[in-house]
Amino acid sequence: MIRFLMPTLAVFAVGGAIAATANPARTALLDGYAAQAKAQSATFAGFSAERGRALYLGPHTGGKPETNACAACHTPNPTAQGRHQRTGRAIEPMAVSATPKRFTDPAEVEKRFDRDCPNVLGRACTAQEKGDFITYLAGQ
């Protein structure tokens, strides 16, 4: 019974965080990642903004030295405008409060994870990392 309840509570906690920035497309995207995370790991117990923050800030090893964190291009402050490390191009803030359309187009989101996770981590991101990342930035 307790094992059954735990994930339910976790889902509620995530649901609460999303409600603050309610956007059906983002909710659906997170639900999809939650389902994948459950399939990938039996111990998955919901997304964590705190883990998302750690992922965002790094530093990580394994990726390219000049992009050892998401923050390398997006700056440590997710409400600030970022900048591509190589081209100098401005990047709109990652925080949903600053850029409301963030994490609402699944194809776009997958494309970015697909490109940026190898640059930063040297590998693909797991579904849990993707959900943590979005959960963190949806609350910023």
């Binding site: 900048r83 190589r86 100098g88 191009r89 490109r115």
Partner: protein
Amino acid sequence: MPRRLAAASVLLLLSGVTSSANEFERVRPVTNDATRKECGECHMAFQPGLLPAGSWTRIMDGLDDHFGEKASLPPGPATEIRAYLTGNAAGRGDPALLRITEQRWWLREHRFRPEVWLRKDVLSKANCEACHRDAARGLYDDD
């Protein structure tokens, strides 16, 4: 012949084009949505008129390792973008060179002290917008 030259100069003067007139100082802005979106993520979407068709073809052939970045696209948008870029490409330039910033005409226009390229607001030669405010609209004669 001198007559025609003179007439041409008058036309140039009338249209306000400077003596350094160059077909690249005003190029058609990007009008294709897929190109604007997919090729405008990491840098501004460069106008097709800045490179010859051969360069665009090679860039589109190599998106998996695009100057060290993965920029690959699904087949649909890739085909559309390829057709748009090659169909509106520059009439001149060296198709063996992938970069705009390696083309002879570009190097001739940008003979700056090396420190310029290290300026934090510039960062890269490809950051046209750092110096050309209206680069995204294809206007490079703004100095």
